[in-house]
Amino acid sequence: MNRTFDRYAGIVFLAAGAAFMLESKNISSSAYGSSIGANIFPFVLGLLLSLLSLRLVYGTFRYKRQEEKKKESLDYKRFGIILAAAVLYAFFLEEIGFVIGTFLFLMIGFQTMQRGRIWVSLLISAVFSFGVYYLFVHVLDGSLPGFPAWLGLT
């Protein structure tokens, strides 16, 4: 068990529970003559969450100080690059369109996972970005952001 994580997670959940309780005070408390309003359910749950996370935080002080596990080295660099690429991909999806966005994202993803074999990466990225777009938009009549207008393709 990871003491630090559990403690901070407990504090975050505690804060969330308290916030839900406080905020539910602002919700109208009655609906059409019923004394049970929209505020009861979130209030009770907020209370429950606060109590449970208090118990968790309290528990973390009683964890046995366990012998330091050998730190597993996590690959933060690759994770960071792929996550950042995914965020940018999602954020600009509507601006640059599905095909271009997907192609770029896949290229970055493949090359981050493992360098080299650029032609294979290019091929797979192209096949999936065009393939998914074509199948979804033209065969299944779905809707995805197409090519950006400034390219003047349509």
Binding site: M1, I36, E72, Y89, G109, F136, L144
Partner: protein, 508 residues
């Protein structure tokens, strides 16, 4: 109409050519999902919902719901088949309910009996699929007849029971599971309150008015969480694949495993019925039972064919059993069925006692399709097992970015909003860190789905009783549910205090 007539009608629905195609796609994708490490049945089903939604767009509302659910159910039990393949050949379970299969399956593969093990796993799964389908046919009507008499108080308590059961069995810490459940229920309150129309916790952010979409959260937490884990821990699939020689089991193999398959199927089915206990518990339990009643328990762990047959039948039967509470009571009992329930709701079909009277075509069509699907899986798996084994060799470097692509595509195709994509990525990161620290994710998703139903029933019950909370204790059935729910939490706790090891369900 009698049950048999309904079933025949259902078979008629399942045999329509487009539904046959959907079953086929479902079981095929399911097998691949089961074989690939990194995506389990939960993320597989979640990722396919948007795609099926588009594929069925040309059909009428009821037909499209039927076809999609048929496909998604196919993915669910197909994954149970596929999971055994990696367990046997690679000693790494493709999904968590095949963990037990590695014990004897890999040993058999090392002795050159991989083909026999795979074949027995496929036959066992097939028999189990049949058993659970027959159980479904006979239990569906009586169960929904009882459930239809439930009022809001009973429903509320039943959902409390379901959530408690999941929390009591999920993960290593019950406290953390409960925290996740309550968080899920709280997140479900965001958006417009469906009873009074008041906006709650929206703070003027337009995207929040419709609430957090469960599909976004589920894809983020399960699919992306798993992807991030693979990247961070540099997980690959560089194990040595065992060779497959002949895929037909010998007469002796069949004779040895027949009993194990039968027991595993029945046991798995009943364990699958229980809320919270999923396929993993079923496979563990049946393995233990086989070992207990075997004449020479020493051979288990050294390549006993019963050790493959029993858990593989059990996990498939449990997958079928888990459909019963979903279809008849409208309450999902595991992570995967929770996601399937989300699919039902997307199609505006309310699973529950009225499903069988309001949408008989859908309900019986899905049940009958399980028969067709299991038959297809058997036919597919026997000759094609070598091909599926090849899927394992898909390099992770291509798989990971592609899963992210399909997650983005899947969520965008249904929600059309960048906000949801960001929410999904956020849920992915949160999902990775939470599950790494033993906070189980399924209770959260389950809470998110059950939240609105639970709240509506609670408020209806309280309106009936004029705000008196005692109504939940005064109605006998409701009280019974609450007591069972409490026991579900208390018993594992007591067992733990007394130093007993409690089996936990990692899928849920």
């Amino acid at each position: 109409m009698s049950t048999v007539e309904y079933l025949l009608n259902g078979l008629g629905t399942a045999m329509q050519w487009h539904n046959i195609a959907f079953v086929f796609m479902g079981v095929l994708i399911g097998t691949v999902v089961g074989v690939l490490p990194g995506i389990g049945p939960m993320s597989g089903v979640a990722l396919l919902i948007p795609i099926t939604a588009t594929m069925t767009a040309g059909l009428g509302p009821e037909e499209s719901a039927t076809s999609s659910i048929i496909l998604l159910a196919g993915v669910y039990y197909g994954a149970m088949y596929g999971g055994s393949t990696t367990s046997i050949l690679l000693n790494t379970p493709g999904e968590s309910s095949s963990v037990v299969t590695t014990l004897d399956g890999y040993q058999m593969a090392k002795q050159g009996r991989a083909g026999a093990a795979l074949a027995i796993a496929a036959i066992g799964s097939f028999v189990a699929g049949l058993v659970s389908m027959i159980g479904l046919v006979f239990l569906a009507k009586p169960l929904s007849a009882i459930a239809i008499r439930f009022g809001p108080a009973e429903y509320f308590s039943l959902m409390v029971l379901g959530l408690f059961a999941i929390s009591g069995l999920a993960g290593k810490s019950m406290l953390k599971a409960l925290i996740m459940t309550v968080t899920g229920l709280l997140l479900a309150t965001i958006g417009i309150d469906s009873v009074s129309g008041v906006a709650r916790f929206t703070y003027g952010i337009p995207q929040l008015y419709q609430g957090l979409e469960f599909l976004t959260v589920a894809v983020g937490m399960f699919a992306l969480g798993e992807v991030f884990k693979t990247i961070l821990h540099r997980e690959g699939n560089d194990g040595e694949l065992a060779k497959i020689n002949r895929v037909t089991p010998t007469k002796q193999d069949l004779k040895d495993s027949a009993g194990a398959i039968g027991r595993g199927s029945v046991l798995g089915f009943f364990i699958g019925l229980l809320p919270g206990a999923g396929a993993i518990l079923a496979s563990f339990f049946s393995y233990i039972v086989e070992k207990k009643i075997s004449k020479n328990p020493g051979k288990f762990g050294k390549g006993a064919i019963e050790g493959v047959a029993a858990p593989e039948s059990a996990n498939n039967a449990a997958a079928g059993g888990a459909m019963i509470p979903l279809l008849t009571l409208g309450i999902p009992s595991s992570g995967t069925t929770a996601i399937m329930m989300g699919a039902f709701i997307m199609y505006n079909v309310q699973p529950g006692p009225l499903l069988f009277t309001d949408h008989p075509q859908l309900a019986w069509g899905v049940i009958a399709s399980m028969f067709v699907g299991n038959l297809m899986l058997l036919v597919l798996n026997m000759p094609l097992v070598r091909l599926f084994a090849k899927v394992i060799e898909t390099p992770t470097k291509y798989l990971i970015p592609l899963i992210i692509l399909f997650s983005v595509f899947g969520v965008y195709a249904v929600q059309y909003s960048v906000f949801d994509l960001m929410l999904m990525l956020g849920c992915g990161v949160a999902g990775y860190y939470l599950s790494k620290n033993d906070f189980p994710l399924a209770p959260l998703v389950l809470g998110l789905i059950l939240g609105p139903m639970m709240e509506n029933n609670m408020r209806r019950a309280l309106t009936i009783s004029n705000g008196d909370f005692a109504i939940f204790l005064q109605k006998p059935v409701s009280l019974l549910f609450l007591i069972i729910g409490a026991l579900w939490l208390v018993i594992p706790l007591v067992l733990k205090l007394r130093g007993k090891k409690v089996l936990i369900n990692e899928e849920a």
